[in-house]
């Protein structure tokens, strides 16, 4: 096989004419000057475009459709809580406590109901706690216990877990309603 190739190469070397080489190189120069793809309407004449009319008046309707990139501040209402039950933070009330719970960026409480072990362990996580987290934990547990005794006629001890580093408290049992009530009463 190698032998044949070598033979062929030798034959080619003998057969190549200078005229052929010139033609070859001229072909190369043509290839380098490639024209744009036919689907691109770059060379279209003016009359081949569809005619349009421009207008700036209707652009105000487009501006309404574009979403705001920031979460807006909630508007002021005549009375609180609002129909959906939202309450703004009360600065006077919350200044009495040695702890504070920040709102989320959506102006809600950072309370999250969780389920573990396929739903057999029910937990509530409270995030963004500042100040004395141990005092907050104690007050919260006392409040929830009182609420259960008052509303459900049961005496329960509430268990909780304090994560001081991440400023979080985990409460055992799905008591998110009572917890949010507690945060509203504190004015956070």
């Amino acid at each position: 096989m190698h032998r044949y190739l070598i033979k062929l190469n030798k034959l080619n070397a003998t057969m190549v004419n200078p005229s052929v080489l010139v033609a070859y190189s001229s072909n190369f120069s043509k290839l380098s000057e490639r024209k744009p793809l036919p689907s691109r309407p770059i060379n279209l004449e003016g009359h081949e475009f569809t005619s349009v009319t421009e207008s700036k008046e209707e652009f105000k309707y487009v501006k309404k459709l574009l979403p705001s990139l920031v979460v807006p501040d909630p508007p002021e209402h005549d009375f609180y809580p609002t129909p959906s039950g939202w309450v703004p933070p009360n600065n006077e009330k919350c200044s009495k406590f040695p702890y504070f719970v920040l709102r989320t960026r959506f102006h809600n409480f950072p309370i999250y109901a969780l389920e573990r072990e396929g739903g057999s362990r029910k937990l509530v996580k409270i995030k963004r706690i500042e100040g004395d987290i141990w005092k907050f934990d104690e007050d919260l547990r006392n409040y929830v216990e009182k609420c259960i005794e008052k509303n459900e006629d049961k005496k329960l001890t509430i268990y909780s877990q304090v994560n001081e580093v991440q400023r979080q408290v985990m409460v055992k049992g799905h008591y998110q309603d009572y917890i949010s009530k507690f945060l509203i009463e504190c004015g956070f």
Partner: protein, 295 residues
């Protein structure tokens, strides 16, 4: 008493035919008795059941459903439980309570008509047209709490309590169908405008949705407006509230705003091209294009 009546009376008093009083035909009983009387054991003329030699004796017959040219599992016709399920239209649920909360927090403007784009622009819901989401369905959770006067347009409503809760406060509801190309454009307007395509012309509802969108009880966008007025009154009487007068309302213009069936955004018409950079709208001037986009 005529004989016919007499026999009818007898029939009425006779016991009904039931499983406890029916018997097999006498021939069947006779045959069974004969078979039962066959001599067995050493007196038997031939082997009962499996013969000696062959597949029956060696119990090598094909299992049940096999042994014929088409096996049993192919002979029985099938009806798949989830056939065509991947083609169904999906409507993402959103409750009245959620709408009220969005209004309270200033995410939705109650002084402007609310539609699919406004709800998508809050960026709080996992709306994805690629999962065949054709829009939102409004559920009746929080119907007692709902207090806002709005003009809302959703794609699906199943309970009339939802409609009653909105109309009690003087608001208006419509259900409107959008085809998937329009839903793609409406779910993310900024992305759509920057793609450089003209605003799409909304399609007509498919066959199985025409009845829904033409009925006034669902407040469909193709329903007769006079019938809708009647249905509003009927619902008010059923749920026992007084319908607020729309004519005297200061927000009358906003509440009575409706889109064209082919239109997808207020103020903008299909076929227009939006240039976000220069803040200019290009409208087609060719006769053919105008006629194509005409509703």
């Amino acid at each position: 008493m005529a004989s016919v009546e007499k026999s009818l009376l007898m029939l009425r008093n006779l016991p009904r035919v039931a499983l406890n009083n029916i018997k097999e035909f006498p021939e069947v009983i006779k045959e069974r008795k004969e078979r039962h009387a066959l001599p067995r054991g050493k007196d038997a003329k031939f082997k009962l059941g499996a013969d000696h030699k062959g597949a029956a004796q060696r119990m090598s017959r094909p299992r049940l459903g096999f042994g014929k040219s088409t096996p049993g599992y192919l002979r029985v016709p099938k009806e798949y439980y989830y056939s065509g399920h991947h083609l169904l239209r999906q409507y993402l649920p959103i409750s009245l309570l959620q709408i009220q909360r969005l209004i309270d927090l200033g995410r939705l403007n109650p002084n402007e008509p609310i539609d699919l784009t406004d709800i998508c622009n809050t960026k709080l819901l996992m709306f994805d047209p690629n999962k065949r989401h054709y829009g939102f369905q409004l559920t009746d959770e929080g119907a007692d709490v709902f207090k806002s006067k709005i003009n809302i347009e959703v794609q699906w409503i199943l309970s009339e309590l939802t409609i009653a809760a909105i109309e009690r406060n003087g608001g208006a509801v419509t259900t409107k169908y959008y085809d998937i190309a329009s839903v793609h454009a409406m779910s993310d307007p900024r992305k759509f405008f920057s793609s450089g395509k003209p605003i799409p012309k909304n399609g007509t509802p498919p066959l199985n949705a025409i009845e829904y969108y033409t009925s006034a009880a669902n407040r469909g966008y193709l329903a007769n407006p006079d019938q809708i007025r009647m249905e509003r009154l009927k619902l008010a009487q059923k749920y026992g509230y007084e319908l607020p007068d729309l004519e005297k309302d200061p927000l009358k213009d906003m509440l009575s705003k409706r889109k064209d069936p082919r239109q997808i955004w207020h103020g903008l018409e299909p076929g227009w091209l939006v240039n976000l950079k220069d803040e200019v709208i290009l409208k087609p001037a060719d006769k053919e294009w105008i006629e194509y986009y005409k509703s």
